[in-house]
Symmetry: C2
Subunit: 121 residues, 2 copies
C-alpha cells in the first residue's frame, strides 16, 4: 500500500460511510491496528486515552466493515469507506460530527440513532 | 463552538470540498490556527514538520475558503467544508487521497489538476 509514516507510532484514520460518503469519525491507528483492520476487514484503532488496541464495535456491536481504503500523499493518513452498523459515535449518533459551529456556538444537527445507555452498559 | 481538546496542543482537521463532499486532506491545528481560520475564513494549519503556523495557499495561492465547520463528540477533531482553489495536494491533485489501496498495493485513482513544479518554485 506504499509505506506509511507512523508519526509517534500512529497514522490518522478518517472514516466515511460507504454509501452516503458522510464522514463518521476520526481516530488513530498504530501498525497493529492497520494490520488487523486490513486482515479482518473490520476497523481497529489505537486508543490514545486507554493506550490499547480497540476493535470498533467490540462493546457496542456497531462494527465497521471496510469497503475501500485510500492513502494520502505523505502516508500519515488513511481514508476508509466502511459499512457502519448502528452508529459510529458513542453519544448515539451516526457520525461523531453531529455538531455544526454557527457564530461561535455548536448546534446539534443530527438525531440520535441509538441510546448510549442501552448500548454501553 | 464548545470546548476543544487540544491533545499535545493540536486538534485534527479533516477538510472536505464543499460542493462534492470529497475529502481533500487531513492536517493539524493548534489554537492559533483554529482562531486564524475562524476569523479570516481561510484554512490555517500547524505544520508538525516545520513547526510553524501555515496559511494553506500562502505559496501555491491554492487557498481554502471555509463554508461550514463541524466539531466531533470529544472535541479533538474538526471537519471543515471548504471551497478549494486549484488543488489541495502538493503533489498536484485535487485531494491528498489520490491513491487507493488494492490487494496491498496503492494505485493512483485521480488525475493531476496542476503541475507542482510550476506552482512550488
Amino acid at each position: 500500500m506504499g509505506s506509511l509514516d507512523f508519526k509517534e507510532g500512529l497514522v490518522t484514520a478518517v472514516v466515511r460511510e460507504f454509501k452516503s460518503g458522510d464522514v463518521l469519525m476520526v481516530a488513530h491507528m498504530n501498525e497493529e491496528a492497520v494490520l488487523k483492520t486490513l486482515t479482518t476487514g473490520l476497523m481497529h484503532y489505537w486508543s490514545r486515552s486507554r493506550r490499547k488496541l480497540w476493535l470498533k464495535g467490540e462493546q457496542s456491536r456497531h462494527f465497521q466493515r471496510v469497503r475501500d481504503v485510500f492513502v494520502d500523499c505523505d502516508g500519515d493518513a488513511l481514508l476508509f469507506d466502511v459499512e457502519q452498523t448502528g452508529g459510529a459515535c458513542h453519544d448515539g449518533y451516526r457520525s461523531c460530527f453531529y455538531r455544526k459551529v454557527k457564530r461561535g456556538k455548536s448546534v446539534r444537527v443530527l438525531k440520535k440513532v441509538f441510546s448510549p445507555k442501552k448500548v454501553y452498559r
